[in-house]
Symmetry: C2
Subunit: 469 residues, 2 copies
């Protein structure tokens, strides 16, 4: 079985055996059957429990061997001591993929933990069963309506983003990372590793952007080769943690993984075209930008701001991150000058308020026409829009999201990034605006203009890399 088919069993299982599953079903029991039923997972579930006939209406089996059907995936919640034995039983049943949720293996300080992980590795070698974990939240796939995480996830959406993580926390739980289409938590990574998952996402038509959280890897050479190949096809954003000796030690007791020097990683990023995110915020911004904007054609940027002061702030950030402030374009500027007060300085950054507040049209229509004219400038590859969220107001002739969508539609080759502010004034929820725009798939929302500038610059560097290789 090739690696893509193998990883498919973890991400697209048609049938799952649940080992070590509890009879308890109260909210604090984290019984996985409840969310699986609630999420609408269409695959078959086979809970194994010798003490009952059913859990939440699902028929149980006393042991895995007695399940009559073929099983794609085994999910083990067993205590660490019996885990190797249960894994062996799964292999004996012919199961080819298993997820081990429990802790206390290579992440433990005692000899038993190491021994048990060695036992697991031996079973893998002997039987050919592939293992995700131990110490993992498992996998999630919004396209098939499931998350195997015992930590509930309401954030699953059918968006083209695939994540591989060495920690459950990056697995769609952090507020900033609510954009998971598919997710894999490697945990200790005793068998299935980041490279395997990368190959799966490479072949996956549902995934257009790949996000990796890496503490360390075991087979650097193979990772390098695969990463270099995949980066040519899809943007791969990487949050590399464990950057110092101190954190290497901590990672050892977290996932048991070995961490390379950070300088080596920096060289690897440069050579492969992997995109480095330095913080969670950056990772979130880059995932949004790559999944919602067209490829960035160049470093020319336009800035259109409801506020002159914020225009200058944005200009600072564009300068800092190596974007070029597009020279105002005489033809298109002419249109704006005509609509503006005669004393007003029309430029880039474009201060919108003096224009739209004195226009004969409505503020909303004037805003739309002004930005449309501004963006005709051929030197503008991307635009950062700093606009008031309260324009998402049903009493206005045009909603903010309608204006933004019209702009993105008019310039499909230019990246439009929206920085909305003041959502709390008039009780407008920026989240609502973001969700509406997400459906159009064209305009990322990034909270501040400096973060927008940094993300645009990072994306420009990636597309430059693609052109030069």
């Amino acid at each position: 079985m090739d690696i893509v088919e193998q990883i498919k069993l973890f991400l697209e299982p048609r049938s799952i055996a649940l080992l070590g599953i509890s009879r308890q079903t109260d909210p604090n029991s984290y019984n996985i059957i409840a969310p699986l039923l609630k999420q609408g997972f269409q695959g078959k579930l086979y809970p194994v429990n010798p003490h009952t006939d059913e859990i939440m209406g699902v028929k149980t089996y006393p042991e895995v061997a007695q399940i009559e059907d073929e099983i794609d995936l085994a999910l083990l919640f067993t205590s660490r001591k019996i885990t190797p034995k249960i894994l062996q039983e799964c292999a004996d049943k012919g199961i080819k993929a298993a997820i081990i949720v429990g802790q206390g293996f290579n992440d433990a300080t005692d000899d038993l933990g190491k021994k048990l992980q060695n036992d697991i590795t031996a079973i893998i070698k002997k039987t050919g069963i592939r293992v995700l974990g131990p110490n993992t939240l498992g996998t999630a796939n919004a396209f098939l309506n499931f998350s195997l995480s015992f930590a509930e996830q309401y954030g699953l959406e059918k968006i083209p983003v695939g994540l591989v993580s060495q920690s459950g926390i990056f697995f769609g739980i952090i507020n900033e990372l609510r954009m998971l289409g598919k997710g894999i938590d490697l945990g200790n990574g005793c068998d299935v590793d980041v490279t395997d998952c990368l190959e799966y996402y490479e072949a996956d038509p549902e995934v257009k952007v790949i996000a990796l959280h890496i503490e360390g890897i075991n087979n650097g050479r193979k990772f390098f080769q695969v990463a270099k190949r995949v980066a040519q096809k899809k943007p791969v954003i990487v949050l590399k943690t464990g950057r110092s000796k101190q954190s290497a030690k901590a990672a050892q007791s977290h996932t048991g993984s070995i961490i390379g020097k950070d300088e080596i990683w920096d060289a690897l990023f440069k050579q492969t075209g992997l995109i480095r995110a330095h913080t969670i915020d950056e990772m979130s911004d880059l995932i949004k930008l790559f999944s919602h904007a067209p490829p960035i054609k160049g470093r020319g940027v336009g800035i259109a701001s409801y506020s002159g002061g914020m225009g200058i702030y944005t200009l600072d950030a564009c300068n800092k991150y190596g974007l070029n402030i597009a020279e105002p374009h005489s033809e298109t500027m002419e249109k704006i000058v005509k609509a503006a007060p005669h004393w007003f300085n029309v430029g880039n950054p474009l201060d919108l308020w003096p224009i739209i507040s004195t226009s004969e049209k409505s503020i909303e229509e004037s805003l739309k026409d002004t930005i449309l004219a501004f963006m005709e400038n051929p030197a503008i590859d991307s635009v950062i829009l700093f606009l008031a969220a309260w324009m998402e107001n049903e009493n206005t002739p045009l909603l903010l999201t309608e204006i933004i969508s019209a702009i993105a539609d008019a310039f499909p080759d230019k990246a439009v990034v929206l920085c909305p502010y003041g959502g709390w004034v008039h009780d407008v929820d920026i989240q609502i605006i973001e969700n509406k725009l997400k459906k159009t798939g064209k305009v990322p929302i990034i909270p501040t203009p400096d973060r927008a500038a940094k993300a645009l610059s990072t994306a420009a560097t990636y597309y430059e890399f693609l052109q030069n290789t």
Copy 2:
């Protein structure tokens, strides 16, 4: 009148004349009377309008000269051409403070704009009236329940933060900066400048933290002297924009202010003890940290995290920003080791989940006791807590906010920073948690651990500066 008394007229007016006030009162008219009444401002309002007797039930006057009472502050919404004339009338009436809201003066490209601003300056020199603006949203004071901004502000809270800004947008409108106790928008700054306002906040017992947004200043020597003095008394956080030649040009057409080289500003920050915020996010984080945490005594930091992976991420950030990971303290660690699984590696960062999930106590009680023991370590000056927002759940024996408050109370000399995550799971709103903690005034919420580490490091540098001067 000394400068503090003078600025008081702008921030603590007992009576306000409203010039150029419209009779229109619909929501899109931005009539300032509506929010002033709604906010509960207790001072007297004197609208001047020759076409009516009252606006929204408030008696109007045909001209300012006919107001019988003494007026602390005039607020001018007049068009630019008549503004000097109206300002003169205010001075003739004996008014000593005026705010000019309108645009089109030094911020304009035409000669008339410059001439009109010169006319205003001449009236100031001749009559002694002091002017805030032109091109300003005015002032706001939560302690007296008012904002003069025509852009509505629901974010006013009686918190000990005073802001001076050269742009209305920083004036409590940006989502990240919803923490304004008092605010002053300088606009063009033709008269009242950042130094004047700094002296006012210096003397203000209601303000413990000062935040400045500066594009440029006119009297650098005076600013330097005052800033150096004030920084010894209260933290002064500065967002300096207009950092390049390009942005200097843009600032010229925004507020007409002259911008110094960024290197000069960096030297000024070092010499005065002013605290530089490089981004809006940083400014927000620093304002929260300084207004909600005790002085930072040193660079020793503890990291306690619900997630091992995030502990490593936080460790990276602490290393990067020059915080010291406190050596585990044998005595206090002993208590934690006893409660943890015997195979578990108890250290700093402290991975909480394996301890609290296997405890005989409730998860919440175990969490509280574990962190309390962890913080007994004398090498810990600050702690970064990465915890699940869904613990703010009424079905649990202890709410997250109760746990956090108990920790802050037990260690009043140590800074406790909370990074809550996963608020959207179980529909818990992190904003609610933040508002509850804000009332205790002890624990800042900072969205991510890297931002928490950076803010703690910046604060430590400030307190080191105070000790060394």
